[in-house]
Amino acid sequence: MSKLKRTLALLATLAVTSTAFVACGDKKEDSNASPAENNNSSVADDANAGDADADADANADADANADADADADADADADAPAAVGGEISLPDTDDVLTIVCWTDTDLNNMFDIYTPVQASEVKYQNCGGNGTEASTQYANYLNSGDDVDLFVAEAGWILNYINDDSMSAPMEQLGISTADYADAYQYTVEIGTDNNGVLKAASWQAAAGGWAYNATLAEQYLGVTSEDDMQKKVSNWDNFKATAEELKTASDGAVTMTVSLGGLWQAFSTAQNAAWVDGTTINTGIASDFVAMAKEYVDGGYIDPSVEQWSTEWENYGKDGKTLGYFFSTWCLGEGAQLDTNCGTEGNWRLIQGPQEYFWGGSWLCVSPNCNTATEAANFIRTFTCNADTMEEYALYSGDFANNKVAMNKIIADGSNSNPSLGGQDQFAVLAGVAEGIKMSDSISKYDQNLKDTLLNTLKDNISEDADTILQKFTDQALADNTDLNA
């Protein structure tokens, strides 16, 4: 009797203890069960009913990867991009390809194109946030042990991830090498290469930017009717400011030249052509020049500094006709992206190069060391970063400037693209020249996102102070945040 009691007590104890540690599990195979996915992840439908077979084959042949590829592709549609190239050394043990992202606009477009050719289920996990926040969410997610095969990283913080082998795996392990990117814009390959010269990330876009303006307002207040005339009025920073003054007088201050400091910063910082951090020293020259410029624009009333970049209010400025234009990068111009949401599809907006050729961010696909859907992952990367045909399709479908010279030149030559929000204009023709000229790889550092956020926030909070005080506050905050750096 007492033995029974003791056994029961022991069992109860064990049960309680083991359930208490249940969350410590380091690898969750069935990520479908995660409740967080209900509202922010989308599962692309399976391509065909034969998927299960394809997966079974792929699993059985895990060692002979070439065979697995063949099996998976055989069951997919005939026009599926063939998985060519080097040997895949990552495992193929899962049947769901999970892509971690911080915004789902691009991936939704990609999935629409990828669904017909996929061999296994593909879904994304949206961590949300932008800038430093997104990077932090990623670190938390990737450390949680939940399923992740690929993740999308942004220029501002990608260096933290590709230079950390516990976060990212070489592309080579998916059989993809630098040679596959002969037609890509070279800077995307340089940024995707880590400190040891290993290719860790590939981008599907060349993030060239332009200035989108409201043609109705331009005609009303500035008497400008064509894109060329508008470009002349804002062809450099001096003209840009003069036009801003003209607009302010003509509209009695009701219409601002542009909205937040964020866009101005991107165009401005490109012109500096210098890194934020030189070794471990912050390049405060960039900050002091920008503070001076921002003060000038805010004091002149050309810009409203209190508006938060990407906020509803920021969108409303475009919708309500309270601003002449926005600095928009390629990823703002697609369907469902900022051009669409801020400016509507009435088609009275136009894109021009603006005062400064610039580029803004851009996203790279990185491979997680825990990738366990290697064949599908390799296929996905090839479809959107190497294959000219599918990248052309993606560019036309999404309005994003694809990272493939062949595809983009073909679209421009064919005249096959027209953007309804821009009244049928082909934004690629405007951006093509800018994309060629992007030399970003020398000027990005892993501190960029943090320093940029700090500068813009300091400016916003202290815009009424004088320039020296703002600069001092920025330097203080930047140094307090980054113990590795000095001024």
Partner: protein, 342 residues
Amino acid sequence: MASAAQSRIKSISYAKYGYMFIAPFFLVYCFFQIWPLIYTFILSFKGNQSNNAAFVGLDNYTTILFGQGMAAGAAATKAEFLQALGNTFILWFGNFVPQILLSLLLAVWFTDAKVKLPGKGFFKVVMYMPNIITAASVAALYVNLFGDSQYYFVNSLLMNAGMANPIHFVTDPVISKGMVMFIQTWLWFGNTMIMLMSGIMGISPSLFEAADIDGANSSQQFFNITLPLLQPIMVYTLVTSMIGGLQMFDLPYLYHNGSNFSRSLETVAVYIYFNFNKGTVEQANYGYAGAASIIIFAITAILGSITFYMNRDKDAIAKKKQRKMAEKQQKARAKQGGGLTI
């Protein structure tokens, strides 16, 4: 005389089963509570960012408290930490004082037999209600009501009524602090009120009746009966509120628009969060975060002890002293008598 069986039964100890039953709790407690606590101490002696593996002694403490350390931004770090500490005290004080006054007033009204307030139960529920909503929802609610521009409810109302410029409820350093204090008070006064009511109801009604008969008016009753006898509950409220207040995180952190967090609302808890939660391990300042945690722990411990010391039952202590003295005297007398009591 006890039989062999009886003495055997006496020697059987059931204690080990007790230990067995509480073992799971302690195991989990050690793993999830004790170890992280110890680890925080360890981290506070280690470096930041790429230097995070190195042992740096008291460098983090000297940096955040005195601005003297290895990092180039030591002075700025100290300024930020001290500002955060100041903010913490301001925000705590600013919500505790109105909260306790309001709760006390309401608790007295609700428990007073002479004030026959109709719908007491309804009011109690309504006043406690905000406490049920999560801070995240409350912050979202207030940010959307009190947004900085004319696109938000309160400002659009005010501007339609003739105000020229929107009030910056969210970003202005002073107004935003006031807003957070107000929200905190609104969230917690119901909870404090219920606690004080239970304290007041624990006071024997005969005391109030006696005071009535002796002709004491309500304010005399309040200051001479209710308040002194409510002291234990008040101390409890003060201590729990202080611990909560020093660790205040949710509202100050959530009460901002977009990604632009306003530094004027940065409490120590937010400071700690910002320093450890910054992208990858190489970007985080674990050392500063650890040191700040230990400092706030020390401050809480010191303030807690002071509160308890000041509020200890002075009568009981005096009585204890007297009793001890009497015992001593008795012993001394016994010694004098050669250990013989006659």
